[in-house]
Each structure stands twice: as structure tokens, then as C-alpha cells.
Amino acid sequence: MTALHAGLGVALGAGSLTALAGLLVPRRARTTVVGAGLAITGAAALLAGIAAMTGRSASFAVPDLLPLFGLLFTVDPLAGVFLAITGGVTVAVGIYGIGYCRGPGDGQGHDHGGLDARGVQAVLPLFVLAMLAVPVAASVGTLLLCWELMALTSLLLVIAEHRRRPTVASAGRWYAVMTQLGLVAILIGLSVFAGHAVDGSFAALRAAAPTLTPAVAALVFVATGIGFGSKAGIVPLHAWLPRAHPEAPSNVSALMSAAMVNLGVYGIVRVGFDLLGDTGAAWWWLLVLGLGALSAIYGILQAAIGTNFKRLLGNSTTENMGLILIGVGAAGFFGTAGDLDLAALALAAALLHLVNHAAFKTLLFTSAGSVVQATGRRDLDELGGLNTGMPATTAAFGVGALAASALPPGAAFVSEWLLLQALIHGLPATGVAGAIVLPLAVAAVALTAGLAVATFVKAFGIGFLAKPRTPEAASATEGPASMLVGMGVAGVACVALALAPTLVLPTIGSVAGATVGAGDPVRIHGLTIELVGTLGATVGSLSPLMLTLALLIGTVLALAGARALATRRAARAARLWDCGGGPLSARMEYTATSFAEPLQRVFDDVLRAEHDVDVSHYDESRYLVQTVEYRRRVPDRIEKRLYDPVLRLVAAWGQAGRKLATGSVHRYLGYGFYTLCGLLVLLVVTR
């Protein structure tokens, strides 16, 4: 009875009990019980995951649960990473949900009801359980089953608020279609794979991998890649993500954005590195890397010019998944080039960024949820000045924004540093392809980092600082304590990851090393992260804690110096400098739209924003302007080019199909009959 077994058992038990509780407990206590249950489930899963990462592994089989196949679960270090992430996120989100689900949710009006309904509260634990089950699934059937369960439960949660906002319904439709298509792709890929193996268990697949022809292997990789990539929100399969995330309740958005999308990455890593082993060709991984770079830049561009608070965070999820896939692709690429140490380093960077992203995205989405719940506004142009009414939430979002913008002392800085180190040291190892791809990859990462800075300066500065732009923003107050506690948990995780990545990095490094079949890529030396190059030489080192301490000392020095030199005059409050005119009103502030305007003009060739300016004049003279109204829309060009034609085609098919449906029962029965005969004939002919 190891910690691993205990953790898994508790997680399963608590999760199922919580689901029941969601159904049975009366409304007053429901969210509390469910939230506590989720927290316990998450904590147990976190422990189990950590135990698994440190090398313990276990297998469970439920032989013939279903007619066709039994369920098969195996917990190995790689699965442990994702167990731990999902568990950690669940703890924070569970506690947060206690208060959040009582509130009006993200509804525009402050009307009550919805999120603490029986359905939502019962499905939430199931969703978590499904997400915990996916990484430990050890056979094709099990994986597909858990995957589908996860997809369905998340879909139900996304449309939880469809009564309040019609937009939710369309978002749900997008999400349903794309996630099901993704499932089909995975199904195809894995069943082709399983067709070449003795049975559907991953062990059999591993054994069969070397026997695959390159074409088949490529088919498997690409098909599953499409499925998993769509779940990770990778361009061009991202269309659902910026729709579903903003429309889902914020605790669900946090779960999806911080835990669920990771499983897409999990799938790619599992299939590419583990199941297909070293049959991988370089172009697979260059494809992954390229799509990752594309998603990173595209996502952060949309985020940088967007003004919808939660949509912006969703786009930033696309960006971070892109960065992670850059790491994964680089790892595979180095692996095919034969430099396993570098591959381990790149994969470790990707996994670390996965952990960091989970932490700060949970924090960002929960605090954004509090803001939206308190103000009922989700447009940055209508927020501002929240630091007076909601100081704790402001601080929380500030920490998250610092972590997300890859600046020291933030969490993402460490992982992006590792990623850049891996890319830079890859140059000598990978020949001409590397010499052409890696600089561009570095440039992509760098551009992403720069735009991320702009994005979160906008989100934090415009959203929380300065003067409130609407009465709702002015009168906003903090939510219940449980929400603050939930944010606090995520915040503490962010700070810990930022200051002491040395605690988690060795484990993650060894997991990555084991996945690609190399040694530990990083060595911890005191407070310092040291990169282990080939021949075990140190090729680079970073110490986030030292850096932060140095910053603190610097601040103290500056303060002391200023105090020492400045003559003691009492500070005086003064009205803002308004050029001597009347007082400045909130309408004179920069809005998110105007803040992003230069970037939008710089990247206009890419974004093709649509503006319309309508100026209305006074009747007396057309030289006297009465009002000027400026609106900007940034259509998703990839959607325009890629999805609209497909949708039109599907619609056309549908129209054609309606001709067959005349409503006569005989005809419908006839269809069945004809098909049956046709099949029989086919059988005869082919045999």
C-alpha cells in the first residue's frame, strides 16, 4: 500500500462521492461540500502524481468491464506529471468554486441561480475524474473512453450558463463539433496503430512500433496529432478555444485552460516519444515545432489586441501551448538528430512550462472570474480602478500577470529561459535544418515574450489600475473568502514555482530524461539551476532565487539612498496635472483598444482589423462634431480562410440531404432495406 496507491484510491473515492454529493446534498450546502470534495480529490491526485514522478509506478486492470475490452490503467512518471498538475489545479479551483458557484457566475445581469444547480455540481467532479483518468489510461480503448468522458463532461460545463447568454450556445456548438472531430482523428490513428499490434494495450503498441512502416507510423502520428492538437488549441485547430473559454464559468475555464488542454500535449508526447518510440522522422517534429511557433505568435497577437478579458486569457493559453509544443518539437527534433541530452533539456523545459502555465493560468482565470462576477463586465474598456475595491484580486492578478509575461521574478521566465537555452545549444548539433529552423524558433519565442509583456501590461494596467471606467467597476468589491483562498492557493503555487523551481525541476528533468531515454538534463547546485551539456559539462546556469534577492536588495538600496539624500519634506497630495483645464475624467484615459492600437497597426498586414468610425455633426454646421464613435473588430483570418469554406460545404450537404427526407415512413424504411441489401451484395461479391 504505497503513497501512490493510497493517493489514487482516495482520489477515485472522493471524486465519486463528490459527484454523488452534487446530486444529493441540498442547495444550501451543495457548493461547500462539492468544493471540499474536489479539493480532497485534487490533493490526493497531486500526492499520487508526485509519488509517480519519483519513480513509483503501478498498474490496474478491470478485465471485462465492457463487452469488447477491459479497462487498463498504468501510472508511470510521465502520467504522474499530468496527474499532479490536474490535481493541483483542482485543489485551487475546488476551493474557489465554493464561493464562486454561489454567486451569479459570469452572467451579465446579477440574477441568481445556474452554477450551483444539481447538474453542474455533479458533473464537475466527473470532469475532474475523467481528466485524472486520461493520463493513466494504458490501452487504446481505455484512453478513448476517458477522453470521450472528459469531452462530454467539459461540454456540459461549458454550456452551463446557456440560459443566461445566447452566445454560450454557439460556443458550445463549436466546442462539441471540434472536440468530437478530434476524437475521431485519435480513434483513426490509434486503431490503425492497434491494428498492427496484438491487442490495444500500450505495451503491445510499444512492441509493435518498430514493425510499422514509416508511412503507417506517420499516419498514426499525424492523425493522433490532429486530435490531440485540437484539444491543445493549436492553430489551425484552435477555433473552439477562444470561444469556449470566455463563455464557460470561470472555474470551469480555469480547469479547462490549466488542466484539460495539457492532455493534448500529453497525447502528443505519449504517442510520439513513448508508443512510437524512436521510429520518429525529423519532419514530424519540425511540423510540431512549426505549428507550435505559429500558435504561439498567433495566440499572443490575438491576445495583445483583444479587449475581452477572458477571451484574452484563452488566446494566451493557445500561445503557451504553442511554446510548450515548440519545446516538444525541439525535443523530438534533437532526438532524431541523435543528441538525447538536448532532447531531454527541451522536453524538461516544455514540461516545466506546462506546470508554470497551469499555475498562473489558474490564478489568472480565477481572479478574472472574480472581476467579471463583481462587475458583470468582461470588456477591459469597461473596467479599471479595481485596485481600490478589490485589492486582493488585483494583487493576485498582478502575480499571475508577472508570471505570464516571462519576466523575472516570474514563473514563466525560468521555463522560457530553459527553452531558449535548449534551442541555442541545439544549433551545432542539428545540421542545416537546425541552422534554418532554430533561429526562427528563437525569434518566435522572443516575439511571443515581447507581445506577452504588452498583453499583460494592458490586462493589468488597463483592467485594474487608473480610474474606473464604469460605475460597476467603481463599486466592485471582493467576493467571499473561499474565492480569495482559492486564488491564494494558486498564487502561492505561482510564487513557489517562480522562486524555487529548483524543487520541482530535478524531478521533471528526470521524467523528461526517462521519456527520451537520456540522463537528467539539469543539475541543482544549491540555489542554482545548472544545465548539463554533453560530457556532463555545465553550459549555463540560472538562479531565480538569487536574482529575486538581488532585486530586493537593489530596491532597499535605492530606497535607502533616496531617503538619505532627499531633504525631509512632507509629501504633498496634488491633483493630477490636467494642463490647467478641468479635472480629467475616466473618458480621457487610454482604453485597452487605444493601448493596443499601435501594435494592431504594426501587425495590420497579419491581422487585417476592420475599423468603422462614424462621426455625427451638429445640424448647424458640419464642422462642429457632436460625437465620434470608433469600433474595431479583428476577425480571425485563419477561420475565415479555413473554416468558412468547410462550413459552407457541410451546409450544402445538409441541404442536399433534406431532399431525401420527405417525411414518408415507407421511404425511411426503404433506405434501411436498400442499404442492407447493398451490403449483402457487397459481401457476396467480395467473398
Binding site: A304, N387, T388, S405, A406, L407, P408, L420, I424, L427, P428, A435, P439, V442, A443, A446, A449, G450, V453, A454, V457, G461, L465, A466, L527, T528, I529, G540, S541, S543, M546, L547, A550, L551, G554, T555, L557, A558, A562, L565, A566, T567, R569, A571, R572, A574, R575, L576, W577, L584, A586, E589, Y590, S594, F595, A596, E597, P598, L599, V602
Partner: protein, 312 residues
């Protein structure tokens, strides 16, 4: 002995940065036929600002008040860890090119947030422009760093400088020349000099850096001004030592350090004078022509990387 290095570097940077600004203004004044206020003027300004009364504008939050401190702190940390007078840094794990760049960016970001925090139109304007420029500078900067660190196999500043010292011929290679060209443009953009930003403009609508600090007065303003001058001298010092490292000490030997300080001063002063003289011939670019400038330097950085691989 590295403690000595840190102390010396901090003292040199803090004490001489305003003089660098004064020297550059003096060069400009002389080329305009003026006499100029003398290179000590920035220090006089700082001394006076320190004696003035601090002002907290209505509606500004803690962000606005702490930004100058953080800004100065970032500069101090960089001044402590960068190889300016000696390659032996006290905090070797912090003396990493990415870390240094990220620290300086952090300073810019805090100032931008402070600009937004005031809630004035000009503050937001400056912040918006500054963040735009930062976002576009980042790729160029990191690609140039890439080019510099590939031949050395490390992004540690000390290692890069040491490698150049060991093999002086590197300086004339296309790699370092292209990287240097790229970095010069980046530095001009990062420190808000012409043609990207006009440090001596009085017209709010043409401001980038100035617009963010319009609300600061007294000691806060002094800190911001000091930090601005420190940024400039740090960037120039890094540029000088990355490409012309001669004179820098390799250890903590007091004698060598004593020799390294004047060498650094001469190099930075020369670069500063060159920059100031060049600015006389330049006019400020439109904000939307700046991307062209940065794209050019980005391409140079990329070519440098290519050269570092293909000509190796």
C-alpha cells in the same frame, strides 16, 4: 575579491552615468554652436530634485510610488552582475544575457504600469508606445544574443567576454559585426534615443519615455532620471565589452580592476560621444516607421546567426 568588483562597478555606474548624459548633451551643444551647461549639469539637476518636495498625485496607487525604486533596482542589479570592469561576477548564475535583458525589460514595464496608473491620457500614450517598442525590440535582441552565444556555447556574459578576449580575431568576423550592428539599433530603441524617441522634446504628442514620467516630481523624478542614465551607460558598457573587451580585468585583482575602470570609462565615453554626434544628423522617425528600423536590425541578427553556423 569579487565583492570588490561588485562595489566598484556599482560606484562607477551610479557615479558616472549622469556625467555620461552630461557629456553627450555637451557634445550636442557644441555641435549646435552652443556653449552647453557643462557635463556636471545632470548631477546638479539630480541634487536639486532630491531637495524638492515629493508629490503624490490624486488617485495614484502603490504601483506609481514604487515604480522608480524597482526601476533603479533593476539597473543596480545589472550593474552589479554585468562584466563591466571584470569578467569575474559575484552572482555568476544571474550574469546571464537573458536574465540581464529581462531585468531591464522589467524596469520598462514597471514604468509603463506607473504611466497607466496615473490615469492621464499622456501616461497611457507613453505606456502604449513604450510597450509596443519593447515588444518589437525583444526578437531582435534575443536573436543577436543567440548569434553572440553560439560561438561560445553559453549565454553567460562573463564567458562570452572571456572568449572574445581569448580570440581577438572573432571581433572582425561577420558574426560579431552583424550582431553589433543589430545591437546598436536595439540599444537606441531601448534607451529612447533618436531616431526612435527624442529625449529632449517638450511636445507631449511626440513623447515616448517622457510621457510616462510627466507626473513624477522631486526625488521620484530624480530616481527615474538616474535610472534612465544608468540604463544608457549599462547598455553602452555591455556593447563595449562584448565587442571590444580589452582592458577588462579577468579576476578580482585590485590592480587590474584599477586599470579596467579607466578603460571602461574611455570606451563608454567614446561610444556616447559617437551616439550624440550621430544624433545631430538624425530626425525622429514616425512611430510606425520604427518597425522598419527594428526589422532591419532583426534581419542583421538573423544573418549573424546564419553566419555563425555556416561560416564556422
Amino acid at each position: 575579491m569579487t565583492g570588490l568588483v561588485v562595489v566598484v562597478q556599482l560606484l562607477v555606474v551610479v557615479a558616472l552615468s549622469p556625467l555620461l548624459i552630461g557629456m553627450m548633451r555637451q557634445v550636442r551643444a557644441r555641435m549646435e554652436g552652443r556653449v552647453g551647461p557643462g557635463i556636471g549639469q545632470p548631477w546638479r539637476d539630480l541634487r536639486k530634485l532630491m531637495r524638492k518636495q515629493p508629490i503624490t498625485p490624486d488617485g495614484t496607487s502603490v504601483v506609481f510610488r514604487t515604480a522608480p525604486l524597482v526601476l533603479v533596482a533593476t539597473c543596480l542589479v545589472v550593474a552589479a552582475v554585468a562584466p563591466l570592469v571584470s569578467t569575474a561576477a559575484l552572482l555568476d548564475p544571474v550574469s546571464d544575457l537573458f536574465a540581464v535583458v529581462a531585468l531591464l525589460t522589467l524596469g520598462t514595464v514597471t514604468l509603463a504600469l506607473a504611466g497607466i496608473d496615473t490615469g492621464t491620457a499622456f501616461g497611457g500614450l507613453g505606456a502604449s508606445r513604450e510597450t509596443t517598442i519593447v515588444a518589437l525590440v525583444e526578437p531582435t535582441l534575443l536573436v543577436a544574443i543567440f548569434a553572440l552565444s553560439v560561438p561560445v556555447g553559453s549565454t553567460n556574459l562573463g564567458a562570452i567576454v572571456g572568449a572574445t578576449l581569448a580570440d581577438p580575431a572573432q571581433v572582425l568576423s561577420p558574426v560579431s559585426l552583424l550582431a553589433a550592428a543589430a545591437l546598436v539599433v536595439v540599444i537606441i530603441a531601448e534607451t529612447g534615443r533618436l531616431p526612435v524617441d527624442n529625449p529632449s522634446t517638450h511636445l507631449e504628442l511626440t513623447m515616448v519615455h517622457e510621457a510616462m514620467i510627466l507626473e513624477y516630481a522631486g526625488p521620484d523624478l530624480a530616481l527615474v532620471e538616474l535610472a534612465a542614465s544608468m540604463r544608457l551607460s549599462l547598455f553602452l558598457g555591455l556593447l563595449a565589452n562584448l565587442f571590444l573587451p580589452w582592458g577588462i580585468a579577468t579576476g578580482g585583482d585590485p590592480l587590474l580592476i584599477g586599470l579596467a575602470v579607466p578603460a571602461l570609462v574611455v570606451k563608454v565615453a567614446a561610444l556616447g560621444a559617437l551616439l550624440a554626434a550621430a544624433e545631430v544628423f538624425l530626425a525622429k522617425l514616425r512611430l510606425f516607421r520604427v518597425p522598419e528600423l527594428l526589422a532591419g536590425s532583426f534581419v542583421m541578427g538573423l544573418l549573424a546567426v546564419g553566419a555563425s553556423y555556416f561560416l564556422a
